[in-house]
Amino acid sequence: MSASARPSVGRAPSLGEDVAQRQEGRSVSASARPSVGRAPSLGEDVAQRQEGRSVSASARPSGFAKLAPSLDTPATAGSGRRAALRRALPAAAVFLALCLVPAVAYWIGQPFWLGLVARIMILGLAAAGLNLVLGYGGMVSLGHAMYLGIGAYSVGILSAHGVEAGAAHLAVALAIGGAVAVAVGFVCLKTSGMAFIMITLAFAQMFYFLAVSLKQYGGDDGLTIAMHSRIPGLDLENPYQFYLLVLGVLAVVCGLSHRLVHSRFGMVLRGSRQNPRRMLALGFPTFRYRLAAYVLSAQIVVVAGFLLANLARFASPSYMSWTLSGDLVLMCVLGGMGTLLGPIVGAAAFVLLEEFLSGMPLDLPPAVADLVRTHWLGFFGAFVVAVVLFARRGLYGALTAGGKADD
């Protein structure tokens, strides 16, 4: 665990790396990369971590640049820990609430809620995966829905051929998803900004059309999945067990993401979002870090696709449509990018608003209620525009970070 690394230890290997990179002939001029300049920043990085300050990207936008003057003394370290605890509270509350959902659903006899919340968690999982590149890496991918589709179609196509083992479904999904992500990421990450948005979109469209053309697997109409994935010890037919599986996966992914984002890897990733040129000048091979983040993020979405196929028992090309990619981005932004729980809160807001508008349970004049129900997507669009224009930090960001100014 790199957190326990003392500055002196942490520094030696990284300097070695530095040299190795120069030998690879990276086009970083020696003068632009003074090792003196780098050593303190790494030292601080480690020092800061030792104090247990879980600095979230949104709370500390300028990361590396601002590290120098913020070396806390031991006296303030305690308050840092308390602050970290306070920051962990919303996460604990959210997961506690999610744990209580099955009990409440059972009690009021409404298993419908179980499916709805499971859908929220699955979309939240996908959005959390996207958030890794979008929120922490600053890469606006408008094509992550294709990994959702890869996960779902792996289940669907294998089931259609009589393979029902969940482990096989997941292994195939992750293998294909990983291979695609490495290839696609390799090409996409050569670009940045607008071109990156467009090229991720183009790849997703490619897979969308591939799914549409799979006539033997339903083509345009999608593929109904006859059997759930078989997982030993679990019966996914049972909505409660399925719910707990989704919740468990979400908790594990969130925990691992938290660790990842606050590790050295996460620091480099956030650093290359804020100032890629400086990171390169410091000797970090940012391309590799970004590619690794992209592949990881894709794999999380693949897992979400696997779960989604089991929830809906259906795989459809629409899972890969660019509007769903847009929806995932929207969930991240809605909830608050670059925060751990933001995407989940965003997914909840997204799904609940969708249910609310398309059902319109409020006691409005019938004409108005009908109008909202029929054209709920338009009202949804207006909501999206309003959020972008006015709530720039997302719902979760607005809830947790008080009035603090952000980037």
């Binding site: 408008l142 670009t191 900004g193 338009g378 009202f379 669009g381 207006a382 959020v387 972008v388």
Partner: protein, 306 residues
């Protein structure tokens, strides 16, 4: 597979390319000069088509519909620009993507509210209903008219951009918008001009496409995605890139769909051709775009910065 079939498909490809050029020319300027990602550009195309349909059915004159629908689309575009988009120019691309994504939803529901979900049809104007004789074989006159109108619009655009003062400012803005503003040019006015120009071209594309496609809610999205492919392939901000990119994408897409299954059949076997032919054909342009971006990240015809 005879010469006539090939020639017809090439012309169809050109016609699609010309429509895409009308869409991309405006959008690439908005992208390149205003550095603004406008996904709602496809909605302007849809609005243009619907307005033309309404006016054509009202006045029974395609020329009048064309003459009224294009300025009306420009007005809609300018209104959207002022009301919603003006506040987003200084934001990052992500906010722009999301806000314009929301706008697409709003516009789709607005036209569904006004005209219903069922497709609206525009008849081909009687004067252009027949065929023209081209190189000794017949081709639908209306499709030929699309090519002609698109080329005329392209020529006009070329003259405006290369021969007028406003065009000079647009070119300067593409190179360095901030500096143009610092030199005392009203950059807001310039932006409105560019946005209006783009909206007008999108509206024109919508009007021209109306009689050969069904006019329905959501018709803008497939075109938008193709337009994005064109722009990125051609080079963001470059009209020349939009022109060649549009023709390349239009031709590859049309010819791929028409002939790839047959080619695969000839090269490999029938089963493969039937299974994979249509899939690969619809993926061709995306493969092209990925290839171009991987080899030349700034597109085939990037803006030349002296």
């Amino acid at each position: 597979m005879n010469a006539q079939l090939i020639a017809t498909q090439v012309l169809n490809g050109l016609q699609l390319g010309i429509l895409l050029f009308l869409m991309s020319a405006g959008l690439t300027l908005v992208f390149g000069i205003m550095n603004f990602v406008n996904l709602a550009h496809g909605s302007l195309y849809m609005i243009g088509a619907y307005l033309a349909a309404a006016m054509f059915n009202g006045f029974d004159s395609f020329a009048l519909a064309l003459a009224l629908a294009v300025p009306a689309t420009i007005l809609v575009g300018l209104a959207v620009d002022r009301i919603v988009l003006a506040g987003l120019y200084t934001r990052d691309h992500l906010d722009q993507v999301l806000a314009t994504f929301g706008l697409i939803l709003i516009f789709n529901e607005l036209v569904r509210f006004a005209w219903g979900s069922a497709p609206v049809y525009i008849n081909v104007p009687p004067a252009l209903a027949g065929t023209v004789e081209l190189f000794g074989f017949p081709y639908p006159a209306y499709r030929f008219a699309i090519i002609a109108v698109g080329l005329a619009a392209g020529l006009l655009l070329y003259l405006v951009i290369n021969r007028t003062r406003a065009g000079m400012l647009i070119r300067a803005g593409a190179a360095d918008a901030e500096m143009v503003g610092a030199l005392g040019v009203n950059i807001r006015l310039l932006n409105a001009l560019i946005f209006g120009l783009g909206a007008g071209l999108a509206g024109l594309a919508g009007v021209m496409a109306g009689p050969i496609l069904s006019v329905q809610p959501g018709m803008g999205e497939p075109v938008l995605v193709l337009t994005l492919v064109v722009i990125v392939t051609g080079g963001i901000g470059s009209i020349r890139g939009a022109f060649y990119g549009a023709l390349i994408v239009g031709l590859i897409d049309t010819l791929g769909r028409a002939f790839l299954p047959a080619v695969l059949d000839a090269l490999a076997n029938k089963a493969l051709a039937q299974a994979a032919g249509p899939a690969i054909a619809s993926m061709l342009i995306y493969l092209l775009m990925a290839l171009v971006l991987a080899l030349r990240p700034h597109g085939l015809f990037p803006v030349r910065v002296a």
